[in-house]
Subunit: 162 residues, 2 copies
Amino acid sequence: MAATSPTAALTDVSTAIDAFVRLLRANAAVTRRLSTQLTADHGLSLSAYEALLVLSRSEEGMRRVDLADDLLLTAGGVTRLLDGLERDGLVARRQCDTDRRVSYAVLTETGRDRLRRASESHTRQIGELMGAALDGEQLAQLAGLLDRIPGVDPTSASCTPE
Amino acid sequence: MAATSPTAALTDVSTAIDAFVRLLRANAAVTRRLSTQLTADHGLSLSAYEALLVLSRSEEGMRRVDLADDLLLTAGGVTRLLDGLERDGLVARRQCDTDRRVSYAVLTETGRDRLRRASESHTRQIGELMGAALDGEQLAQLAGLLDRIPGVDPTSASCTPE
DNA sequence: CAAGATTGAACTTTCAATCTTC
DNA sequence: GAAGATTGAAAGTTCAATCTTG
């Protein structure tokens, strides 16, 4: 597939579309599977897990805006996600002393426990699914390629608590 | 599978998690952007576009179950997606003569026009977004890696009408 | 009974409007 | 007025139950 001829531009576009479609399908396939398992085993959605994980890395808690940035959600989405986690006692709310507009979300002990338990099977399942057809080198390559897409990288993080 | 030494397994898992997180983020970033543009410019969701595209490749129409497979949606999801497209006159319903359980979905002329118009800017935007940081070779590599993930490939298709 | 399709209830997320505090 | 957060309405999906036809 050398892209040298006058059709070069066309080739690039259809290659881009191809990659795009695979991205959509891969996301759908992977999230459906993992989300089902996570819900059945631990009563957590994928987003809930990611939120607990992010919170687990900050002792003092996080502002909701920052959480939204990290999770690639809107402000409203974060409010509703945290609503559920608070209701379940996994996250608590802490006021900011210097700015009464902001409220921090902090992981409770219950939340930390739940995350710890969930991470065991969840990470194993990710490993099984992603590792089923890709070896370590290919996985690293995949991550590197995806990272180049605008909006993906923001110095994003690992996925295990601690 | 080379999960031999104690550290080998660990390394593989965290690499897998890394790739997984990038996949989620990449999907979120890319779909949000493209979906917004597609909706604003042509009044189509990403799923609606994909549905029209799939239908455009079959003259006689498609069974709803098969459409669900192609689009990685559930049966109920397809019913509701097509409801909207029918309401807008982009898709019509055709009965099956030999099996009265099945109903075919066929693209209308209006639907074909709408797809044609939308595909122009949509494919260009995909090219811009995906091509912004990845060259042709990298895009092909990315598609190839994603294709290996279970459930992604089903001999899936290109993305332009005709 | 199985397969195709639909429907009601629920979930997750977004958008736009709003409230409070800076 | 701008920033952080919340809320009502709506979109898009899923699941489980149901209906119809095979």
